[in-house]
Structures are given as structure tokens and as C-alpha cells.
Symmetry: C2
């Protein structure tokens, strides 16, 4: 298996080893279906899900497509490494059939039976430790789920109907502008302050921890609109939220799905690709777009689809330039700041262990 | 707007008029992208969702595709007619983002804001009349929803966990063979008999009516496995079942989505089509498949995708022949036997009215 240069492992005997084996790593990292100096129909920047699906749709429809990616592997924020036969998810992990866009890809590539349910009750150490200030107590995962669902409902219930009235169409783009503006003005901390007196210390701690887990940042850095979107995506219930966020993952791992999309695109003969090329600039002039990598390599196309995430968008120079607000948002770096660590333990039957800390206790 | 020959209207002044105006009607009904006697890459039989999506995927990927349909319109069992500016859904109506395959098409064609919620409480006549033998009483729709959810849960709860244990992956194909065989042996009537003594007469009537509505037949003709599938698809809750089955429809109507898929396929230049051609036979010989219509017209292709529904499958002669069991199931004609009637009324504010009768009271 090919190694990505990302990530590292530590073992008592071997110490630190950099890089992880993954079927998501692309080797050799570049391939040009015809002359690399040709004018492509489209250059797609970024090989995460958005970029992969765009490249597949374009190349299968006969467009000469170049996929440019900074990393040495597929998947962007999601990928898995296989070590001793176990698939460790290194980023976004859980997917579900209530996520229609990704599930369509799961189904399209025949992975509809390739599931693992990650919540398996019954282990010896099957409990949640809830920490509140100086107090600590163990509760069952059922009690934890009830507690988290209940407090998230209070957090999001802006219409007395679990947000079902005011946010009817979860993927719709036309949220009532009045509500959108009002909610977008609040951080999760602001909203916590509005409902703080309705919650016990334990409830508040659980809610703060859940927000940290889902937003990957402290609540003052997470927009309230995000939390409302999660709630709507989760069918306006704690159970629904749990099912899309923590329930099922692909048995063969996220990189398996990336690989299938990528190979489908490559099989058309229309896909060229360049991995390991961070993009420095995207310049649109005289009807042609030039994409230039940090090492000076440049490609031209009639169109560009740029899928780089918000937190690195400001590192790319666009001409004409992006809206000032977008660049500012990118520089704020408010995106997910989590790190993911897998620890294999010996001893009693820890099937899995997670830890969340509310702000100030990280 | 073009008329389909299907359906009819009646008005006090104009009497009966056959055929309905719909953007789903295809006119002219045939088009051949090149010689109609060419050998196609694929012939797709049936222009419902399955056939439309197959034709679109094939033609956009450069395959010479012929779409053959018995009716004069797109959509098969789903379509809408527009009369005096109102979109009347004539078949399958409700869709939701928890149906990933159809929702991907909604999203792909930019219809993510094109929704109507069909359950709007607050009208003067906003209640449900529950009829049990000789008794009748009005309950609120909330009470109705609670009642139906509660009884459907009893009907489907085979594992003490709302079927979440034994039917984990709703689109998976590998249901435990033991359970599948056991459940597939029961009709909905058989299952009703197992739980009858747990239900009040009202609960039993509500459950029977719901089964009739969803299965489009009497409970002894509906496989229990179908009901379990609905329950799983509905997230193992009454609310979830209601949301996928009765909640949201496309404002512009089902035929709008069919039209967009069809026109996308046609825009490739690879799609030929023949509407108004019921297929008589599909014969696979010497590496070529011949599809012959009832009027004797025949086309040849390297492959055929046949999407005709089960209840008409036995009317097509296949060579080599289909499995005996499949033909037998088709001849039983156990598919949906519902008729759909829209009635416009004057007077108090009936926003909508539905009627369900349990067997023997139809």
C-alpha cells in the first residue's frame, strides 16, 4: 500500500513514524492524459469529495479535465489509513443515507452493504463520564443521548416546533432573510447565554461539550446558524442528529469511496491529475484561466472549479479577486480546529473512547 | 401545453373530457438521433424515474441510447397535470431529502427550493374522522399522527428496538436471511392477527386504513416485508414515516423533474426515443438484443435495460425467459390498485381531504 506523508504513528517499540499507509494515496502523483500544456476544458482544484465528484462528472461527460491537489492523496478532510488490517478514519468518519449527496455515491459504487454501526452497547466500560466543574459522574450512553438531545432541542427550538416551522427545507437556500440575518448575528456562546438559566450545570456542560465536538472550536467561534443547520439536518431530533453524526461508517473506509470515484473518472481517458501541487494563484484573463502552483508550474483551462476549503482560500491569489468578506472569513481561521488521535489500548474491553471538554478545559 | 391521453376531467358545465394537459407529454413522440435502424449501445424500456435516469447516465457518457415507452409521456407512475395554474399530482406525489436517490436528482437540477409542505394545520375543517364499525369520532391530525405512529410501531417492532437492531441499513441488500424468510412468509393480515389483541378497535381501524393507503391493496395482499421496509425507510418512527410519505412535494410538480432529466439526456445528441410503443418482446440472440413493439416495430441493441413495473412484466415476452416466480408474481397483479381522484370543492376551507377505508368498506 502507498503511504501518504500525512499523519504519524507511535509505538512503544518503534517510536514515532511519519506518514500512514492508505489506499487514498496517489502514486505516481501526476498523470497527463495528453499533452500537459494543452488547454483543458476545466481545471478542478481540490480532490476532496466536491472536487472528485466534479472531476468524475466532467470527465465522464467528455470534458478534458485536470484535477490539481495540494496533498499526496484523495479525500481532503476525509481519509482512512489501514494498519494491521484495521481501517482508522483520520477525518470525517460517519455518513448516513440521510445525507443524500454522499449516499448517492455510496449506492452508485455498490457500497450499500458496506456499513459498520459504530455504537455497540454492552461493553464492560460502556458509560459516559460527565464532568461539571468539580463534580464527575458516570451515566449510561442512553442517558447521555437523552440528555444531549434534550439540551440541543432547547438550544435550537426557536419556533416552539423544534425549528420545523422556520427551517422547513434543510437543503433549501432560501431561508427567511429576517431569521437568517438574526441567527447569523449570534455565536453559539450568545445563544448559550440566552438559555443558560433553563439548564442545570450538567446540562450546560453537556451542551457545551457537544458544540465543541461538532463545531471543532470554542462556542464563541461557532456561528449559531451552523448549530441550527445541524439540528435541521438531523431531522429536528436528538436521535436524528446522532444517526447522521455518530452512527454508521463505511466498513472499507472513506478512501475506498474516493478511490472508486477517482478510478471511474480516470477510466474515461479524459482525466489528467497533479497531486502534491498546492495552488498559488488562479487568474482569469482573456477568456482563459491560468492555475499556477507554488513551484511555478502553470496550466490553462476554459473554466476552473475551485473546491479548496474556506480556511485555506486566502492562501490562493484570485484575479479577479474574491469578495473581501470571504477573504476575511478565511483569514479568521474559524474552521474546525480539532485534532484526531487514535489510541489502541490493552486491557479491559474499551470498544471505543471519546473525550470532549468544554471551553477552558481543553 | 401538450395533452396526455391519460386521465380525465369532469366539470358541471363541460361534462367529461378525456386526457390531461401536462409538461410530461412528449411531442413529437418519436425522435431518432441518427438512423432508426442503427444498432444502439443500449435500449432502455420504460420512461419512469429508473428509465429516465438510466437514459441520462448512458447518453451523457456517450452511449447511443434508445428510450422506448408505452405511454405518451414521461414519468410512469408519477406525473402531474396543470389545470388553471394548479399542479395536480396524478400518481406518486411526496418526496423528501431522506430519499437519497431521488433527492440527488432534485438537487442536481436546481430544484432544492422548489418545495411545498402539504400538511398545513389551522383550517376550519382541520380534523380526521375515525370510523370504527358503527362508531365515528373526530380527532385532530396531531392525535391521528400519534395514533398511527404508535400502532405502526407495534406492528413493526420485532426486536424491542423499533426494528433498529434487525434492520439496520435501510438500503442494504443483505438482510439476515433467517429474518427475511420469516417475514416474507407473512402478509400484513397475518401480522395483524399476531398483534390484534394488543389494539383497541380504533387502533386496529387506523392501522388497517394506513396499510391500505400505503400498500394500495387489502392487507392480505400486502407482504409484511413491505411494511417493515416502509418503517425502516421512515427512520423507525411515525414522524419519520409521515415525513417521507406525506410531507413535501415539488411545487412545480413531478413532471418538471422528469422533463429536466429527459432534456439533459436529449441535449447530448445521443438519445433517441419512441413514446407510444408498448413493448411486446425482448429477445437476446447472438450477442444482440431485439426489442419489438406491439405494432411490429423492432430495434436492436447490444444491451437492454428493462424498467417496466412488476405488474406489466408478464405482458412482455422475454427470450431467454424470465424466472418462473417473477412471471407468476407479475400475473398475480398484487401491485397498487389505488385510483387517484382530485375533487375541487366550493364552500368552507377544505385545504385537502383524504379518505381511507379499511378492507370491506372500500
Amino acid at each position: 500500500m502507498v503511504y501518504s506523508s500525512e499523519g504519524f504513528t507511535w509505538t512503544p517499540s518503534g517510536g514515532v513514524s511519519h506518514g500512514l499507509p492508505t489506499i487514498g494515496a496517489v502514486d505516481p502523483p501526476t498523470f497527463f492524459a495528453s499533452s500537459k500544456d494543452q488547454v483543458y476544458d476545466v481545471i478542478v482544484v481540490g480532490a476532496g469529495y466536491a472536487g472528485l465528484v466534479a472531476s468524475r462528472d466532467l470527465s465522464t461527460q467528455g470534458k478534458k479535465t485536470l484535477l490539481v491537489e495540494a496533498r499526496d492523496r484523495l479525500g481532503g478532510r476525509t481519509w482512512h489509513s489501514t494498519i494491521n488490517g484495521f481501517n482508522y478514519e483520520m477525518g470525517g468518519t460517519w455518513i448516513h443515507w440521510h445525507m443524500p449527496h454522499i449516499y448517492r455515491e455510496v449506492s452508485h459504487y455498490g457500497l450499500q452493504d458496506d456499513w459498520v454501526v459504530t455504537q455497540v452497547p454492552g461493553g464492560k466500560e460502556d458509560y459516559c463520564t460527565l464532568t461539571t466543574g468539580e463534580q464527575q459522574r458516570n451515566i449510561s450512553h442512553e442517558e447521555e443521548a437523552d440528555l444531549c438531545g434534550r439540551v440541543f432541542r432547547i438550544f435550537c427550538n426557536l419556533d416552539g416546533n423544534d425549528l420545523r416551522e422556520k427551517w422547513k427545507y434543510v437543503f433549501g437556500t432560501k431561508l427567511d432573510p429576517k431569521f437568517a440575518a438574526e441567527w447569523d448575528n449570534l455565536s453559539c456562546s450568545d445563544r448559550l447565554n440566552q438559555i443558560r438559566n433553563q439548564l442545570s450545570p450538567e446540562e450546560l456542560a453537556a451542551l457545551e461539550a457537544q458544540l465543541v465536538q461538532m463545531g471543532g472550536n470554542s462556542p464563541d467561534k461557532i456561528g449559531f446558524l451552523n448549530a441550527l443547520l445541524w439540528w435541521s439536518l438531523g431531522s429536528h431530533t436528538g436521535t436524528g442528529l446522532n444517526e447522521i453524526a455518530l452512527h454508521t461508517r463505511l466498513a472499507s473506509g472513506q478512501s475506498e469511496l474516493h478511490r472508486r470515484i477517482f478510478e471511474h473518472a480516470a477510466s474515461t481517458g479524459n482525466l489528467s491529475y497533479a497531486f502534491g501541487y498546492p495552488v498559488k494563484s488562479v487568474q482569469d484573463e482573456n477568456g482563459l484561466v491560468t492555475v499556477t502552483a507554488r513551484d511555478g508550474t502553470a496550466w490553462k483551462a476554459r473554466s476552473v472549479i475551485c473546491t479548496v476549503p474556506l480556511n485555506v482560500l486566502a492562501d490562493v491569489q484570485f484575479s479577479p479577486s474574491l469578495p473581501v468578506e470571504k477573504v476575511e472569513a478565511s483569514r479568521m481561521g474559524t474552521a474546525n480546529l480539532c485534532n484526531k488521535v487514535h489510541i489502541d489500548v490493552q486491557g479491559p474491553d474499551y470498544l471505543s473512547w471519546g473525550s470532549l471538554a468544554s471551553p477552558g478545559r481543553a
